[in-house]
């Protein structure tokens, strides 16, 4: 009986439209946040930061961005890797050109630059639909990677095209470079993802979010009631790319610290983020997080389990891991095609009725 909204009356549309209308939800979320902010930094170490939590947060950010485009606006994109590269190289150029510039500003600017690029590459979506668009977006993926690999200006004319993030600190805390403390980098990334997660939620529950979903569900009808496809699609591309750009920036500056465009932003990156969005749940903010969690944690988990517990040889473990990932993806698609987010909802519905089935 614990999980009920019974007796929680909405006295205004305002409260009715709040993000978590049900009190228990608010408590749970608050609890999670408290743990994430206060507990985790105390127990975190290099392994947890660099191998688990930073990837998790940063991919969640990217998935969030892609979900806005694919899940809310219905435009499939396989250009994520390329757009992350834009964010990464933008932040590299900015921070090396203006060493004094605050890293937060650098990342936000990188996001804006990526948004502009995203809009540019999003233009075809006005004419091309579905998988045709999906494949077409690969053009941006391949072109951008080629560009950053080709034009030496992007990597400051160094010998090989590898970019390395110089140490930077924000408000006296070192964020990037090898000396940065795991707890600090983690909190930095966490701050970004929490703020932008909230912002995303606000956008999708308002007018613009409805515009996107209208285009997604039935573009013709949407246009007939006054939604301009141009505006809707381009804004979706812009916002989505902004998120992906910031994610790309964090990916390079805070997590990897050094990157080579042909390898760190290759096409697998685009697919990986798309998996996260679909497995997590299209058109769901929560889903973006769950999807990222699944695809980041699961392989590490399987690996550690097989190698350290079962003592399987690293290589066999890898092969099995690949196979199992495939099996799990298919399994979850069969169990619930609408992703983890929907499973979570169903669970809540059940909880609401528990212990009485009716």
């Amino acid at each position: 009986m614990l999980y009920r909204e019974a007796g929680q009356f909405k006295t205004s549309y305002d409260t009715d439209q709040s993000i978590f209308p049900i009190r228990q939800d608010r408590w749970v979320i608050a609890l999670y946040m408290a743990v994430a902010i206060f507990a985790v930094p105390l127990m975190i170490n290099d392994y947890w930061a660099n191998a688990v939590l930073l990837p998790l947060l940063i991919y969640a950010m990217a998935a969030l961005g892609l979900n806005i485009l694919v899940g809310y606006c219905g435009q499939i994109s396989l250009g994520t890797g390329g757009f992350m590269a834009v964010g990464a190289f933008a932040s590299f150029k900015l921070t090396t050109a203006f060493p004094e510039l605050n890293l937060i500003i650098v990342l936000l600017l990188s996001g804006c630059i990526t948004a502009a690029v995203g809009v540019l590459f999003g233009l075809p979506s006005l004419r091309i639909k579905g998988f045709y668009l999906a494949v077409a977006t690969l053009a941006s993926q391949f072109f951008l990677v080629w560009l950053f690999n080709k034009v030496e200006w992007f990597y400051n004319y160094n010998a090989t095209g590898q970019i390395t993030m110089p140490p930077r600190d924000v408000f006296g805390f070192q964020i990037t470079g090898p000396e940065a403390k795991p707890a600090i980098t983690y909190l930095f990334a966490l701050g970004f993802i929490m703020i932008f997660g909230l912002i995303a939620k606000n956008i999708v529950r308002g007018r613009i979010g409805r515009m996107w979903m209208a285009i997604r569900d039935m573009d013709i009808a949407a246009e007939l009631i006054g939604v301009r496809p141009l505006m809707a699609k381009m804004s979706a591309f812009a916002v989505s790319s902004f998120y992906i750009g910031v994610a790309g920036g964090l990916y390079f500056t805070v997590w990897l610290g050094a990157a080579e465009v042909t390898e760190a932003f290759d096409i697998n990156q685009s697919f990986l983020v798309l998996f996260m969005v679909i497995v997590g749940g299209l058109g769901s903010i929560l889903g973006s997080f769950l999807g990222a969690a699944f695809l980041v944690l699961m392989p590490i988990l399987l690996k550690n389990f097989m190698v350290d517990w079962l003592g399987v040889a690293a290589v066999t473990a890898k092969h099995v891991e690949i196979t199992l990932m495939g099996v799990l993806i298919i399994f979850f698609l069969i169990v619930e095609p609408h992703g983890f987010a929907r499973l979570w909802q169903i669970l809540k519905e059940k909880l609401r009725l528990w212990p009485f089935p009716y």
């Binding site: 499939i76 690969l138 497995v279 993806i329 298919i330 095609p337």
Partner: protein, 301 residues
């Protein structure tokens, strides 16, 4: 004939033949998409899997190539059946993107199993296909490899066979019916599931052919699965649902990217063919959103 012209011809032929190799992969995509509306991302891995199995059988059992090929065909058919059983039948009437996702999962599984079974060493595939430049052409100072000609011939044969299969046989007609609409197919009295098994088998066999061609030229190893990326621009250029589109698209992409690499490369830098293929296809789509031979989309309310 002036050298530059001769060279131009050489580049063009080279492009056409490279295009044929892409078409071989694209065909598999088209077959499945046409019959079931599934964008089968696993096509590339299927080619790898088929080639791996073929090599494995030849090495482990020491059987002659043609026997191994027949056995591999059997394996691919079995695979198709399993896929229908374990994946597709649970996902009927789901959004295309969900099925797309499922095929990606499938790609993982096949890759993992392939590695587990046969290991990830590079394997030399030799089913007795000729190799090296064609001599009499080479004397004209035109460079074409025998393997490419074989591939072209095979592709032509494949398309002919498929055409006959689709036009003449009862199953083939049924498949076309499904392509148009599923209800119709059911009314013809063939279960959708049988049809899916068939179409996946067929594209599995196409994947085997592609695997043999690519495998003979570069050895059989993981990278083989990445040829799928070469086929995607062909796919959107030719239209997801058109077999002639896949062939013609392949030729256009092949020639286009080779011309770009050699004549444009000098000015904007080399290694552009990868993205150029996509840009070419994209530019084309902007003019014809449904691809070369794709069905026209008529919007109604």
């Amino acid at each position: 004939m002036s050298d530059s012209l001769l060279y131009f011809i050489e580049v063009t032929i080279g492009g056409l033949l490279a295009g044929v190799m892409y078409s071989l992969v694209a065909l598999g995509f088209v077959l499945i998409f046409k019959a079931s509306g599934i964008f089968n991302f696993a096509q590339g891995v299927m080619a790898l899997f088929a080639a791996l199995t073929l090599v494995g059988l030849m090495e482990k059992l020491g059987v002659p190539a043609w026997v191994a090929i027949i056995m591999t065909v059997g394996v691919m058919i079995l695979l198709a059946w399993l896929i229908e059983r374990m994946v597709l039948q649970h996902l009927v009437n789901q959004d295309p993107i969900i099925l797309f996702m499922a095929t990606i999962g499938l790609a993982y599984v096949l890759e993992g199993i392939g590695d587990l079974m046969w290991g990830s060493d590079v394997k030399v595939l030799n089913v007795g296909l000729p190799d090296g430049a064609v001599d009499w052409l080479y004397d004209f100072n035109i460079y074409v490899t025998k393997l490419e000609l074989v591939a072209a011939a095979t592709a032509a044969l494949l398309v002919a066979v498929l055409a006959i299969f689709f036009q003449k046989t009862r199953i083939g007609r049924a498949l076309r019916a499904v392509a148009d609409d599923h209800q119709a197919a059911l009314s013809v009295g063939i279960s959708l599931r049988t049809i899916w098994v068939i179409v996946w088998s067929v594209s599995g066999i196409v994947a085997l052919v592609a695997g043999i061609m690519w495998g003979s030229s570069s050895g059989v190893q993981f990278s083989l699965s990445l040829i799928a990326l070469k086929a995607l621009p062909v796919l959107i250029l030719g239209g997801f649902t058109s077999i002639p589109g896949a062939i013609l698209g392949g030729l256009i992409i092949g020639v286009g990217e080779k011309w770009a690499e050699i004549y444009l490369g000098e000015y904007i830098g080399y290694a552009i063919e990868n993205w150029f293929a996509y840009v070419l296809a994209l530019a084309f789509l902007l003019i014809r959103p449904q691809g070369l031979f794709g069905e026209k989309i008529i919007e109604r309310v």
